[in-house]
């Protein structure tokens, strides 16, 4: 009876006590906390409410980090107030600012996820942001909540500059957050206030080729740059769209040393929930691929092998190659560019002095470009690019350059006009229809009047062949079908021209002209 009585009496008391214990404890700031020495000590994982009591109110909070970790600092929105916060670290009796977080919006929360904290004391100061007229709000509190996560495999914020870059290992992925949205301390004129994450890696054995992959993150249009120790931009990604990954492939690292990778979000966007992943790998250079950057003649990729592969990426990518062949005399070369199905490639050939010899642009998307007879003295340069707006990150084009060994090949382009006519010394002319609607002029010089018998053979493309007077006016024309030959005879009054024209838009066709004194 006595036991039952105790049960009835004590049960409500126990229930009330239990309920009281389960209720969340609401922690509120204790003013004055306007300086770091007056700061409120808070615990990680426990929210605290505070007020922007006056227009100039600053609330300092102190948090003690025992082990290295990533902090996720979240300040909830306050109606009508553009709040901002600064992270400070204690350093020899004073504090130094590490990061200022302000998204420049009213009534919006501020969050910074991924701040790397070593063991020690950190301070968070919450105040009105810079953008709007400071206002107080004594009715609606903000809530500051700091949480932590493992820093393993993450960038080390603040790594906002090249000097504070997070070291990474080649082949080991690193993660980071596009957080916060703004970095007020970034005063770069081109991208002011952009939040940037810098990474650095060391290359010991050069030259190597590196590939960098940056995963896509929802809501973020990523920017990926690769920079050498001198600050030269080796790669700068082009716009790929929101949520899409970025890739830098085949970036040539010619000297040993530190290299840097910059990751940023375009348009001041942030994603505090999903981290990006960045991985940098290197491989030995085997002379079969381009070395980016090779966008200018001075950084052209040397061609050692017969075929070299390159990619048109990012948008407006230009690839220069330097052919290092026999430099003792001019040689004919056959140049071929075999594109992937996605690209309409264009090419141009330059002398070592940078003078353009010819451009190669006969075909459309996915079709091979050929120039069968460029006569040059090595070294020379070949430029490859694609029609505007075309990129292919995944598929390579192939550039093939081979010397042409052919006796009596006298078709030296450009010889498209009478003034550019090639001088004929012997009795045999080998020539090519080098491009669409290519016209070849040859000039003949003889002593006195000479009757000549011309035998013309078209190997692959139907052509017309004309002989002119000394002024270049046509005396006779004969057409020659593909795979057949024709003859004509004409008197050359000391000087005359031969003109070869294709009869259709085909090109890369060999023809032969034999000039004889007798039939």
């Amino acid at each position: 009876m006595k036991k039952r009585f105790l049960l009835y009496v004590l049960s409500p008391i126990v229930i009330v006590l239990l309920l009281h214990g389960c209720k969340k404890e609401k922690i509120v700031e204790i003013e004055p906390n306007d300086t770091y020495s007056q700061s409120n000590l808070i615990e990680i994982g426990k929210p605290i409410d505070g007020f922007i009591n006056t227009e100039s109110d600053i609330d300092f909070y102190c948090v003690e980090v025992l082990n290295p970790c990533l902090l996720d600092i979240n300040v909830s929105a306050v109606k009508g107030v553009n709040s901002a916060f600064t992270i400070w670290r204690e350093n020899e009796g004073s504090i130094v600012p590490l990061k200022y977080v302000d998204d420049l919006r009213k009534s919006a929360p501020e969050r910074f996820r991924g701040f790397y904290a070593e063991a020690g004391k950190y301070y968070i100061s919450i105040a009105h942001g810079d953008k709007d007229q400071p206002v107080k709000n004594t009715e609606n509190p903000y809530t500051l909540l700091i949480q932590y996560e493992s820093a393993e495999g993450f960038e080390k914020e603040s790594d906002d500059t090249i000097l504070a870059a997070t070291p990474i290992q080649i082949g080991i992925p690193v993660r980071g957050y596009y957080s916060p949205a703004f970095n007020k301390t970034n005063t770069n004129a081109v991208n002011p206030n952009r939040e940037e994450d810098w990474f650095t890696f060391y290359v010991e054995d050069a030259p190597v080729v590196c590939d960098v992959e940056l995963s896509g993150v929802a809501g973020i249009e990523a920017q990926l740059d690769i920079v050498d120790a001198q600050g030269n931009v080796l790669f700068s990604s082009a716009s790929q769209g929101v949520g899409v990954s970025q890739m830098a492939k085949g970036i040539g690292l010619s000297v040993a040393g530190n290299y840097y990778i910059m990751v940023a979000a375009k348009n001041y966007n942030a994603n505090n929930d999903v981290p990006y992943s960045l991985i940098c790998t290197t491989r030995d250079y085997d002379n079969t691929t381009e070395i980016e950057p090779n966008n200018i003649m001075e950084s052209a990729t040397p061609i050692i092998t017969e075929i070299i592969y390159g990619r048109i990426y990012p948008d407006n990518d230009i690839d220069y190659y330097q052919y290092m062949g026999d430099s003792s005399h001019d040689i004919f070369y056959r140049i071929e560019i075999i594109p992937p199905m996605t690209l309409d490639v264009v090419s141009a050939v330059y002398t070592k002095k940078g003078e353009e010899i010819t451009s190669i642009n006969n075909n459309g998307t996915g079709d091979k470009e050929v120039y069968p007879n460029v006569k040059l003295n090595a070294p020379f340069y070949v430029k490859v690019w694609a029609k505007r707006g075309q990129v292919d990150m995944d598929n390579s084009y192939a550039l093939r350059i081979v010397p042409v060994q052919m006796e009596n090949l006298v078709d030296v382009e450009p010889n498209d006009t009478k003034e550019q006519a090639n001088n004929v010394q012997g009795a045999l002319i080998h020539g090519y229809i080098s491009k669409k609607y290519d016209i070849d002029f040859y000039v003949l010089h003889y002593k006195g009047r000479q009757k000549k018998y011309f035998s013309i053979e078209a190997h692959a493309i139907p052509i017309s062949f004309s002989v002119t007077d000394a002024l270049g006016y046509i005396l006779q024309t004969v057409t020659v079908k593909a795979g057949s030959s024709s003859t004509l005879h004409e008197i050359v009054d000391m000087k005359g021209y031969c003109i070869v024209k294709p009869l259709n838009e085909m090109y890369d066709g060999l023809y032969t002209i034999e000039i004889k004194d007798r039939p």
């Binding site: 006195g448 000479q450 004309s466 007077d469 270049g472 006016y473 008197i491 009054d493 000087k495």
Partner: protein, 155 residues
Amino acid sequence: MNKKRLPIVFFLVLFIASGCKTVPTYEPPIEPIISPTEVNINFRFIAYDTGITNPDEDKRCYYKIFIDKIDAGRTTIGLESQKKYFEAKLSSNMHLIVVEKWVLDEREGEYKKVNNILQPKPNFFYFETKASSLTELILINDKLVNKAQFVVTIQ
């Protein structure tokens, strides 16, 4: 004293003036050539037009030559009013020459055969050649009426 210096000054001025002058590049027209390859010729044909009063009507042309109905070549090229030459070594015999006038179409950049009604008439002539002497045949075509006159001389 002044009279002595005058020629020096004159030549100096002339020298400076000639030095300053821009010499245009000029490609001389091809002169009618007596072919050195045909050394032992015994036939020469010369043709020119008369009755041309307007230089615009005096076109570059040549005559295609058929001897004994075989294409033997063509004359040199020149203005219609200029003499155009053709030479050959022919057997000692009577021969038939037929000529065909071709005129430059400057717009097209090529020589085109003159319409039959504008060809010289007659466009043929019979002549005799000998091994040891030169037969010279001159065609004088009155372009106004397309009437041809053949003059033959044996030297």
